[in-house]
Amino acid sequence: MEQAKVRSITEQYLQTQGCHILESTPTYIKTQLSIEADKDLLNRPLYWMYVEKMSLPPQPARFCFLFDEKVQLDGERGEHLFFGSPRFTQILHSAQKKGRFVRLYQQPTGWQRDSTSKPYYPWLAINYRVSYICDKKKEQLRYLGINLYNGDLYEPFYPTIRHLNWTPKLPPRRHLLEARLTLAEAVGEAEYYLQESLEQEDAAWATEAAKRLKYEWEQLDAYYPEPSKRSPEENEEWKQRRYELAWQYQPRIEVDVANAGLFYMETASLDHLKH
């Protein structure tokens, strides 16, 4: 990741977390952290526990983020940031945590003459992270959207709607169509769809890992004496080793949700937004 990107993410983070920028130069940013950002970035739970227990005025820290390796700190609290540095990873994790769920309404597009209210369609957006795991691992993000009014499913939802304008308040002369799917039903649909789609994928990686596991198990079994001749200790050890191999190789997919949101939109379909 380029340093420019590291910087832009950091700036956006400070902004969304309500941190006050004290000084910004091409090589560093000095900031007054907000309470929330201090808690997430500076690893001082004891301080915050103390402040809260004693009802003291909280004093979040000032911090200087440096983006140029050659520039040194001048006795201030701060750190060099780059992709892979623990502090930047903390920023990313904090950003994930703080931006997990939204409920947003589309900004009306175009000029409206009459005063009749227009309907908004409710969409549930779920950004799934799919992890393919054996002794190796890869991940993929799947951006699903389910129309709660008519049950339509759309992928990729988030990338398609991210260029629209959104507001946290329902704009005037707009009303919400009632969802016909419950949240739980919609999630069920999404999972069903995703599972189907995963089953269509090339699973060579998993086949190979399973084959390798079988081979390793056989090699292990040949090393230990036959079951009837094993001492209890040997048997325990054998079981442990078999478990370790399964732990290492067993192919599986793990799915979790990175973030989710309810988006109320002017249209029932997204097809016209495709690029």
């Binding site: 795991i133 002794d135 190796k136 691992k137 995963l198 290492q248 997919i253 990175a258």
Partner: protein, 573 residues
């Protein structure tokens, strides 16, 4: 149908529903977008690309190190013996592998077991080079508190620590100096065997020192069954204790779990070593002291049975080549032991002290000053003796040469500070300790061996401080040799006979190990020295030892080739 399970994490649903119910606590649109961007940045898009390489700063791993990481996380699937020769960066390879697995979320907790003298160095290196939040284990409560711990093997295998460790499942276990695990009857081996682990790295520069069984034990610890049952291994691969058969097949088996990079296999751009012997004529007073001390050592050692006293005599013999101050120190101690309870000095010792008093000038110091002044660059001086070190600092300072000391006994802060002083302010570093805690002096390329250790390993460690991967200049090594002393002979042996200085002897440790298990080289040399009548005889003995060294070197190299091939998997002839 998919033949493997899919696990759904649904813990997000309840909090989401609650937000909706209360219609509060929502993130902003910007916050949501940033969260997606963060997730995208942290994602692991492929099985096999190395993400760790983009996430380190301040150093560039070498091609052979990157290759090791690729191989271990790829075809070796996280269980491997890293057996590069000394100085090729096993620690860097292990650090990168750990980093790669951490980034991928395949490792969340790690245990790193190392000799106690290396705990802090490992911890610091993981933190500073790799930004891995490793902690040095100090107290028992830490086992459950920190996910990534560096601990001393000796501590870890003892209760209560042992119990803490055996109750855990470690995503990765890394063991440094793993040749200590070559015997499966030892506590060390059994302890490592009991630890529950997913991935495992064993680091050693000498995977096999003597017997094939050692290699079998190491591989079996890593992957039980890889080389079959012991009986199978013996009948299939062993022609004798030290002799293999079915070499090709054995080599294939070993290469699937062991990686050994050697300097000769890689075009590792090491700069040249330029070695100069600086001959020094002793002054008459120094000569008298040298002769008398040597005579004293010889007569004492021939009647001495106590090993401890033998060692003091050995030290004394070396010291008299180093400095008057060093001799005085030991003589004083010897005197305290021997003469305890006596009213007056024995005439022998009194005589030595008398001679010592008459040495009021050091030919070596004069040479050192002359040499250092003629080199307008940084110089590191190694001596074995603290008394010499202090004297040198004093004398150099008197001559207007800025010099700082360095000792193994300094604490970390002081070491760092001295290094910084040397790099930024001083011309000379006078060091007594070369091994152990890593000091890297790549910014310097002149070294003086003010006195010479009799152990080739220690000499190599000294050179290794400045002549390492990353040294861009040719390295100048000046060996101080006082004429017609034992020093001259030793330097002849190390320099001319076994060619210790010109290039790195990768297998040095193994050669020395096979040469003499019973006694150290130092004691052997001492014996030669005290039992020979004249220089000619001495030379003869040294020559013989040198021959034995060369033969062993060849044998070791052959064995190497047989077992590991080259790291490219080919065999050179």
């Amino acid at each position: 149908m998919q033949s493997f399970p899919t696990y759904w994490d649904r813990t997000w649903f309840e909090p989401f529903r609650q937000h909706l119910e209360q219609d509060s606590g929502w993130a902003t649109w910007e916050g949501f977008q940033l969260a997606v961007e963060a997730t995208e940045a942290l994602i692991v898009p492929h099985f096999d690309t190395l993400l760790s390489l983009q996430q380190i700063r301040g150093f560039k791993p070498l091609p052979h190190q990157i290759e090791v990481v690729r191989k271990v996380t790829g075809e070796m699937r996280g269980r491997a013996i890293l057996a590069d020769e000394v100085g090729l960066g096993k620690t860097i390879e292990a650090g990168l592998i750990l980093k790669e697995y951490l980034i991928r979320g395949l490792v969340k907790n790690a245990l790193i077991l190392v000799p106690s003298s290396l705990v802090l160095q490992w911890t610091r290196e993981l933190q500073q080079k790799f930004q891995i939040p490793a902690m040095a284990q100090k107290k028992a409560w830490m086992w459950d508190q920190y996910p990534i711990l560096v601990a001393s093997m000796d501590t870890a295998k003892r209760e209560p620590h042992r119990n803490f460790i055996l109750n855990k499942n470690y995503d990765i276990l890394i063991v440094d100096e793993a040749h200590k695990l070559k015997n499966n009857r030892t506590k060390n081996w059994q302890f490592i065997n009991e630890i529950k682990k997913k991935y495992c790295l064993l680091l050693t520069a000498t995977p096999m020192q003597n017997e094939l069984k050692e290699l079998y034990n190491l591989v079996t610890l890593l992957k039980p069954g890889q080389l079959g049952k012991q009986s199978h291994f013996q009948s299939e691969y062993m022609a004798g204790k030290r002799k293999a058969k079915n070499e090709e097949k054995l080599r294939t088996e070993i290469q699937s779990v062991l990686i050994r990079n050697r300097r000769q296999d890689h075009n590792l751009q090491m700069s040249k070593r330029i070695v100069k012997t600086v001959l020094i004529e002793l002054s008459p007073a120094e000569r008298a002291l040298y002769d008398e001390v040597s005579r004293f050592v010889r007569s004492q050692s021939n009647q001495e049975k106590d090993l401890k006293n033998m060692l003091s005599l050995l030290v004394l013999q070396k010291e008299v080549c180093s400095s008057r101050d060093a001799v005085f120190h030991t003589l004083f101690k010897l005197f305290q032991q021997k003469e305890h309870g006596k009213e007056s000095l024995s005439p022998e010792i009194a005589h030595l002290i008398q001679l010592l008093r008459q040495v009021n000038y050091s030919s070596k110091v004069e040479k050192a000053v002359e040499l250092i002044t003629s080199i307008p660059e940084k110089v590191v001086i190694f001596t074995e003796f603290r008394a010499t070190q202090e004297m040198l600092i004093r004398e150099l300072t008197r001559e207007g040469i800025t010099a700082v000391p360095f000792r193994g006994g300094f604490n970390r802060n002081k070491k760092d500070w001295m290094m910084e002083l040397f790099q930024k302010r001083a011309q000379v570093l006078v060091a007594t300790e070369a091994g152990g805690e890593g000091i890297n002096l790549q910014f310097c390329h002149h070294m003086i061996n003010y006195d010479m250790p009799w152990n080739p390993m220690r000499v190599e460690q000294r050179i290794g401080r400045i002549h390492r991967l990353g040294q861009t200049n040719d390295v100048y090594i000046y060996n101080f040799a006082t004429k017609q002393t034992i020093e001259e002979h030793i330097i002849w042996l190390l320099h001319e006979k076994i060619q210790l200085f010109e290039s790195v002897i990768g297998e040095l440790e193994m050669i020395l190990e096979s040469l003499g298990k019973e006694e150290s080289l130092e004691q052997h040399l001492m014996q030669i020295m005290t039992q020979t009548e004249n220089d000619e005889e001495l030379r003869h003995h040294l020559h013989q030892w040198g021959e034995k060294f060369s033969q062993t070197r060849q044998a070791v190299a052959q064995k190497e080739e047989l077992l590991y091939g080259t790291s490219q998997g080919k065999i050179h002839h």
